[in-house]
């Protein structure tokens, strides 16, 4: 849940990139071979971290959290799961038991050992944590079989488990202070950095100092990382221009980054971070009977000119999509875009076949997120006879109203989570599926995908994707990536999974 929530929140509101964490047992290495230098990296976040205690972290950017805690596994810049505290890992045959082999000789910054018992203690807390419990819902037990082996038992295979353990869900903290009140603001982990309290002002500036005792410290070239809380985009851009920041991963639009002189800054497009969709939540037709009919849902999908939306409405840094999976993942398929072409004639024919030749009326919530899309949605849907009534809803009422079954469909962004398994899980839960709709076919496909080996997961989740697109489960419209700006002093590699750690940053003169 940690990654999903954290990154999702960030990705929806800013710019981010999340994807696949497909991995093979034994994993790779996160070494980037950058030379260690006594330099400071200056970053910005838009909101302060709320809670450093295991199981309770929430917010957009997890860089701070994942820097002070070493996770069971790690996320590479390419989005792949790498070794972390667990040096190697393997599943049993039916993938209901994950065995983690804990790296030997690691210590928390309070000098206590990072061993199997410590991993078990943290995962047990995470299983109950408000932010993390959903991610570990398939876990039935976590046991240490010896000092360096942990066995995680599952009620059913869960392909999202490994990427979860590579995110904030898999954070391991010092056992003594795991649930202590102090851990909310003063975390004790074994990560590559230590939060320097003397140089930290809560809510404003957080200073990380490299933990040279970390097993992978050589992969972190910056001795100090200063993370400033700057909610205002213009202030952040000014800070970058004046040298008070080194990188803005979410600098904004193409026009915004073009204002930074190329002689001093490097700019570029990020990986896809989020997607906007018309979420069709009343699939049982309780409020809007027409939405129960798959022909109506297909007609809705055919009514949108996604290319035009990406080109004329959302602009550079966005792309048409009809899928809930990230374009950076393996489940996404460009070929699937042709399954829902812009075809008003076919859409009208489907509406007529479903008995709605004269259309119907639907009420949708107008929120700050939907305003840009409202005229396009109204026009496109009216082309096939669907009249939209927009109801202005304060954001605080939005969630209760969606969960209360007040809307048949609504527009909202959702962030990509870091893996195909997490992407589909997120899109089938929470406000995106308030009635927890499913079908036997979907359950079967999901079970097969979750049980598949790493090598087969891409194809298995693509089958899930195919089903969701063909059934017009929702109507995704565009994916968005946004642009970054980096000072020429820093080399920035846009990561597949945004806001996870400081691995995307390196001194410009490093190899």
């Amino acid at each position: 849940m940690r990654t999903k929530l954290a990154t999702r929140a960030a990705a929806v509101t800013i710019v981010a990139a999340f994807t696949l964490a497909g991995c093979s047992s034994g994993g790779g290495s996160s070494q980037n071979n950058a030379a260690q230098v006594d330099r400071t990296l200056q970053l910005a976040i838009t909101a302060p971290p709320s809670n450093f205690s295991i199981g309770n972290w929430s917010g957009g950017d997890a860089t701070l959290f994942n820097s002070v805690y070493e996770d069971v596994l790690g996320f590479g810049v390419d989005g792949k799961v790498e070794p972390g505290i667990a040096e190697t890992w393997e599943y049993n045959n039916d993938r209901t038991q994950l065995t983690l082999h804990i790296r030997k000789g690691m210590k928390f910054t309070d000098d206590t050992p990072v061993d199997a018992q410590a991993v078990v203690a943290s995962l047990e807390v995470a299983r109950k944590g408000a932010s993390t419990s959903q991610n570990l819902s398939a876990v039935t037990s976590v046991k240490a079989t010896d000092g360096s082996t942990v066995v995680v038992a599952l009620s059913q295979p869960d392909a999202a488990l490994l990427p979860s353990l590579a995110s904030t869900v898999g954070a391991v903290g010092a056992t003594k202070v795991l649930t202590a009140e102090s851990s909310k603001l003063e975390p004790v982990g074994s990560g590559p950095y230590v939060l320097d309290k003397s140089q930290t002002t809560v809510g404003s500036t957080y200073t990380l100092v490299r933990n040279d005792g970390n097993w992978n410290a050589k992969a972190y070239p910056f001795k100090k990382v200063v993370v400033k809380v700057i909610p205002d985009a213009t202030a952040a851009q000014n800070a970058l221009r004046s040298g008070q920041l080194d990188v803005l991963p979410a600098a904004g639009t193409k026009e915004t980054v073009a204002q930074f002189p190329q002689s001093q800054f490097t700019t570029g497009e990020n990986k896809a971070t989020a997607f906007g969709a018309l979420w069709i939540v009343d699939r049982e037709g309780k409020l809007v009977p027409a939405l129960k009919d798959s022909r109506v849902r297909e007609a809705i999908n055919l009514a949108f000119d996604r290319d035009s939306i990406a080109k004329n409405l959302t602009g550079p840094g966005s792309a048409p999509t009809n899928q809930v999976f990230s374009p950076s993942g393996q489940a996404f398929s460009k070929d699937f875009l042709s399954k829902t072409p812009f075809d008003l004639d076919k859409a009208r024919k489907l509406m007529a076949e479903a008995g709605y030749a004269d259309g119907f009326t639907v009420t949708m919530p107008s929120t700050p997120v939907s305003t840009t899309f409202e005229s396009t949605l109204t026009q496109s849907l009216s082309d096939i006879g669907i009249k939209v009534k927009w109801e202005t809803v304060p954001f605080q009422d939005f969630y209760p109203k969606v969960f209360g079954g007040n809307y048949g469909m609504f527009f909202m962004y959702n962030g990509y989570s870091g893996s195909d398994a997490q992407d589909v899980k997120a899109s089938l839960s929470g406000i995106f599926n308030p009635n927890q709709n499913t079908t036997p076919e979907l359950q079967k496909l999901l079970a097969a995908a979750n049980s598949a080996s790493e090598a087969d997961q891409g194809a298995a989740f693509r089958a899930v994707n195919n089903y969701l697109v063909e059934q017009s489960w929702n109507a995704p419209l565009n994916s968005t990536s946004g642009y970054y700006v980096a000072s020429n002093k820093v080399k920035y590699t846009p990561p597949v999974s945004y806001g996870q750690n400081v691995k995307p940053y390196a001194p410009a003169d490093s190899k």
Partner: protein, 313 residues
């Protein structure tokens, strides 16, 4: 005087109680989904319930209110939902930032507006017209535009001052000054114009009074008449204007702190409000109303000191 002060303090405490109670019940009534905001769109009902229980949001409204009231009376303002920092600690950390900007802006306001007001009133003619013109332009010039211009020129182009952030005085007095001088200038620019007009008007009135003619007939120097007698008597209305501006500066600090990314009271209040961070909002309300009460009290005392007639009234 003591009874007067006690009465004002008592009224202030009642005001603080009423405003914080209103803040609590209005915020509660707004039904802000705090747990959902913290956990995100994909969180399930069980997670939301767990977090609501952790935060005490599952308790009846009056129980929540009286719990806050009791702990506040014991000096504990609670803990922010969103930063987990004790509210009192957060306000104590952020107040020096805002106060630094507001106090420096106030000093600039007083010095510059008095100089402009006195020069306009005393010299008159073309100087008065020019200074009034400058005041008018300063009054209507949007502070946000000035802020952006100053940042562009002094922070980005010349790099004399930082574009964002705050350096504590204890860490480096010079860096502290550089970090707040631009926000202070932006904050005071409108106030200078208003207060200079007030000083000018009051001073012209005073200079036309009989006691001034008497002083002149006794051979008292114009400088002494202007600065020692007339300005002191003209200071009363200007002080009232200044007290309103001082409180207004705390409100304006919100956008100043956003432009310059200062971790002050304004940004804390803004974030608390948009997030529905009830303990932080109540702390901000408590402090805000307390500030108004204290400033008004100090202005009353200062007015009495400046003009003995005000003490009896």
């Amino acid at each position: 005087m003591i009874i007067f002060l006690l009465r004002r303090i008592g009224a202030g405490l009642v005001l603080i109680f009423v405003v914080t109670a209103f803040t609590f019940f209005l915020t509660y009534g707004a039904n802000i989904p705090v747990a959902r905001n913290l956990l995100g769109n994909s969180a399930n009902a069980e997670q939301i319930a767990t977090l609501n229980a952790q935060l005490g949001l599952d308790k009846p409204i009056f129980e929540q209110y009286f719990r806050w009231l009791t702990s506040t009376l014991h000096g504990d303002l609670g803990t922010s939902y969103f930063t987990n920092q004790p509210v009192a600690e957060a306000l104590a950390a952020r107040l020096p930032v805002t106060l630094s900007v507001v106090v420096v802006a106030s000093i600039i306001t007083i010095l510059v507006s008095c100089a402009l007001g006195v020069a306009s009133a005393a010299r008159g003619g073309i100087i008065d017209s020019i200074l009034q013109g400058i005041s008018t332009i300063a009054f209507v010039f949007p502070g946000i535009v000035l802020g952006i211009l100053l940042v562009f020129i002094f922070a980005i182009q010349l790099q004399w001052v930082p574009a964002i952030g705050y350096v504590p005085f204890a860490e480096s007095p010079s860096a502290w000054f550089l970090s707040i001088i631009m926000p202070a200038v932006v904050l005071c620019i409108g106030g200078i114009a208003a207060m200079a007009a007030q000083v000018r008007g009051s001073l012209i009135d005073e200079l036309g009074r009989e006691y001034v003619r008497t002083l002149r007939s006794r051979g008292t120097s114009e400088r002494s008449i202007l600065l020692k007698h007339a300005l002191r008597n003209a200071a009363g209305p200007a002080l009232t204007t200044f007290s309103l501006q001082f409180i207004g500066m705390f409100g304006a600090a919100l956008f100043i702190e956003k432009i310059f990314a200062l971790p002050g009271y304004g940004t804390y209040a803004f974030n608390a409000t948009i997030q529905g961070d009830l303990p932080a909002m109540l702390g901000v309300s408590l402090f805000g109303v307390g500030l108004v009460v204290v400033v008004n009290l100090l202005v009353d005392i200062a007015a009495g000191w400046l003009n003995p007639k005000a003490r009896t009234s």
